[in-house]
């Protein structure tokens, strides 16, 4: 029963992701695109939840949906009038884009499908979500599979991006 529910939920999430992804890149209204993106991000968070990575799902919601999409919406509102439609794409451009994406899908799909993954049953290893304490230790530890250094490093990156962003965006 649980299995079936899982499958149904996955099916829904997958459908949302696929449909909204495509809508995101095809809609002519930029604000709608942002909205569809939001749906995709929600659905992705859903997948993370489904896979018992609830912390990750939460981060996804907070940072992506809460942060990035809001940023997008603000800048969209800043740079265009709501309801503006961008003009139709030329056929040539569409074909070119389609070639690349379909070719890419085929290549990646082929490689993934032919690869003999040795999947382990989901339930056999861990059940339930990841322990937050464990996550904290891993994030702050210095041993193998612990991530203090990247944590420090990304802080520098974020600082630099802040500096850069401010520098570019400020008036003078």
């Amino acid at each position: 029963m649980e299995q079936i529910a899982n499958q149904v939920i996955f099916g829904l999430l997958a459908l949302v992701i696929v449909v909204c992804s495509i809508l995101t890149v095809t809609t002519r209204r930029i604000l709608r695109a942002a909205t569809y993106l939001l749906f995709v991000l929600f659905a992705t968070a859903g997948i993370y939840f489904q896979l018992d990575y609830t912390f990750l799902g939460a981060v996804q919601l907070a940072v992506y949906a809460g942060g990035i999409v809001v940023l997008f919406v603000f800048s969209i509102l800043l740079t265009s009038h709501p309801g503006d439609k961008s003009e139709l794409l030329t056929a040539k451009k569409r074909v070119v884009g389609l070639i690349a994406s379909i070719f890419g899908t085929i290549v990646c799909g082929y490689t993934l499908l032919t690869y003999p993954f040795f999947t382990k049953p989901l339930t056999s290893v861990i059940t339930g979500e990841v322990d937050m304490k464990e996550i904290g230790h891993a994030l702050m530890g210095m041993e193998k599979y612990q991530y203090l250094l990247p944590f420090e490093a990304i802080s520098v990156l974020l600082l630099a991006c802040i500096i850069g962003g401010i520098m570019i965006a400020r008036k003078r």
Binding site: F117, G141, L148, A160, G165
Partner: protein, 478 residues
């Protein structure tokens, strides 16, 4: 918790200290101290360079996430030297009214990107590597767009940023595949786990990883941003981009290929073979027609990247030595060229090749420096470029890539052609009526940097100890 592990990261720490000091001066310093910022940056960075000049022992920290080897440490020193030269060359430029407001940011962003490159060079884990890659490229976009009122500059910034994030997305996809195949992101473990793997997925992975790195190195066909960005960015940033960024990426790519994909090099050697041929040839073909010197040097640097790759494809300690040596020489030669260009641009605002007609009559010293740089880039003895080319070819030949080297060598003819065009403009052509570049005296920073570059061009080849030293270090392992 063993915080002494941070001590292994001597170079990164001291770089961050420099960064913080500048940040502090910038943020809290008065108007007066800001004036001295450029000099302070040079001095501080010089100290940092000297502090790190002795290569570190091989060591591993953070459970193998950070790995340092003598040769990697040497690469950092090489990058330091290059950055120092760039800093010297930008002393007068940051004081121009447009840039003055942002000079603090200029130094900060520059140092952060360098920090990112450090991480790339000495990471042992793909997460750290990826963060390093992003740290090296995202602030770079801001740097490129630093002349934000200048159309070309922000256009270049946007082009760089979009291509960079696209390539990092692709790189990320490749990494996810790699993770799926090997189950880990530690370099050493991956190498063990994929030892006998020959599946299409792994091949696609290699292709995507190469594409991601190929962007930084501007290998054909991942190079198209290069020319526009080089042209649009401020010259100082262009020079930084063309030597430091490229040099670090080259070494990082080598690191990945040697460490991660070392056990089965046939696949990536095949891909590299094609990439090298394309890169050198197309770079050269585009360079022929360029009239803007910055754009011209962009294409020249594309083909130079192809030559650098010859050291990687060799897949040996010799290739590694040759690569690092090549990068060093390339730094001196290219920075000499950019130094001249920026000096002239600073004084006359001209960057066209035709503007250089008859330069020798008005500015003989600068033209001689430019000529030396061109000859060195073209690989003419007795300048250092000849030696670096020879060694890199030797390493590729040693690994049996005769045809590849032959193609590369035939391409040197084309490259010689366009390098000579610059020489021709300066020495042979007559100056343009009325709009010749007037005679001027460049600022001290440029002078020092150019003298350093010329010394490097003239001495690096003759003084064999440099190459010998590099060899000793690279034999100690990556």
């Amino acid at each position: 918790m063993d915080y002494s592990q941070f001590l292994v990261m001597r170079g990164e720490i001291s770089l961050l200290v420099v960064f913080l000091l500048i940040f502090l001066i910038d943020t809290f310093g008065g108007q007066k101290s800001l004036k001295g910022l450029s000099v302070a940056a040079c001095v501080l960075f010089g100290l940092h360079t000297i502090w790190n000049i002795i290569p570190a022992e091989s060591a591993s920290a953070f459970g193998g996430m950070y790995q340092i080897s003598p040769i990697a440490s040497l690469v950092k020193t090489v990058l330091n030297i290059g950055t120092l030269i760039v800093l010297l060359q930008s002393i007068s430029w940051v004081d121009t009214p447009d840039v003055k407001l942002r000079r603090g940011e200029f130094y900060e962003l520059l140092l952060v990107t360098l920090f990112g490159m450090y991480l790339m060079v000495s990471s042992g884990h793909f997460l750290l590597f990826f963060i390093g890659l992003e740290t090296a490229s995202l602030p770079m976009a801001a740097l490129i767009a630093i002349n934000k009122k200048d159309t070309e500059s922000y256009e270049a910034g946007a082009k760089y940023l979009f291509t960079a994030v696209f390539s990092s997305a692709l790189f990320l996809l490749g990494l996810s595949f790699l993770y799926g195949v090997s189950g880990t992101l530690y370099f050493d473990d991956i190498a063990v786990n994929i030892a006998t793997n020959h599946t299409p997925l792994l091949i696609a992975t290699i292709a995507f990883v190469l594409a991601g790195m190929g962007f930084k190195l501007s290998l054909v066909p991942f190079h198209l941003w290069t020319a526009d960005v080089y042209q649009g960015a401020p010259t100082q940033v262009t020079s930084y981009l063309s030597v430091i960024s490229k040099g670090s990426a080259a070494f990082a790519l080598m690191l990945i290929l040697y460490k991660v994909f070392s056990l089965d090099p046939v696949v990536w050697q095949g891909i590299m073979w094609a990439l090298i041929v394309l890169t050198i040839t197309l770079g050269n073909l585009f360079a022929i027609r360029q009239k803007n010197l910055k754009r011209f040097l962009a294409f020249s640097s594309i083909s130079q990247a192809g030559y650098i790759m010859l050291g990687i494809i060799a897949g040996s300690a010799q290739g590694m030595t040759a690569l690092v040596y090549y990068v060093l020489v390339y730094i001196f030669s290219n920075l000499a060229a950019f130094g001249v260009i920026s000096s002239i641009e600073h004084h006359s605002g001209k960057v066209g090749m035709d503007d250089y007609n008859g330069l020798y009559k008005t500015n003989p010293k600068l033209s001689v420096v430019m000529m030396l740089a061109m000859f060195s880039l073209a690989g003419i003895p007795p300048f250092a470029g000849f030696f670096s080319k020879f060694f890199i070819f030797a390493s590729a030949i040693h690994s049996g890539f005769y045809i590849l080297v032959l193609i590369a060598l035939l391409n040197t003819i084309i490259s010689l052609y366009y390098y000579l065009l610059v020489v021709k403009a300066m020495f042979i052509n007559n100056e343009n009526e009325g709009c010749a570049i007037a005679s001027f005296r460049s600022d001290n920073g440029s002078r020092v940097s150019l003298i350093v570059c010329v010394a490097g061009i003239l001495l690096l080849g003759i003084a064999s100890c440099v190459y010998g030293y590099f060899t000793d270090l690279s034999l100690l392992g990556i």
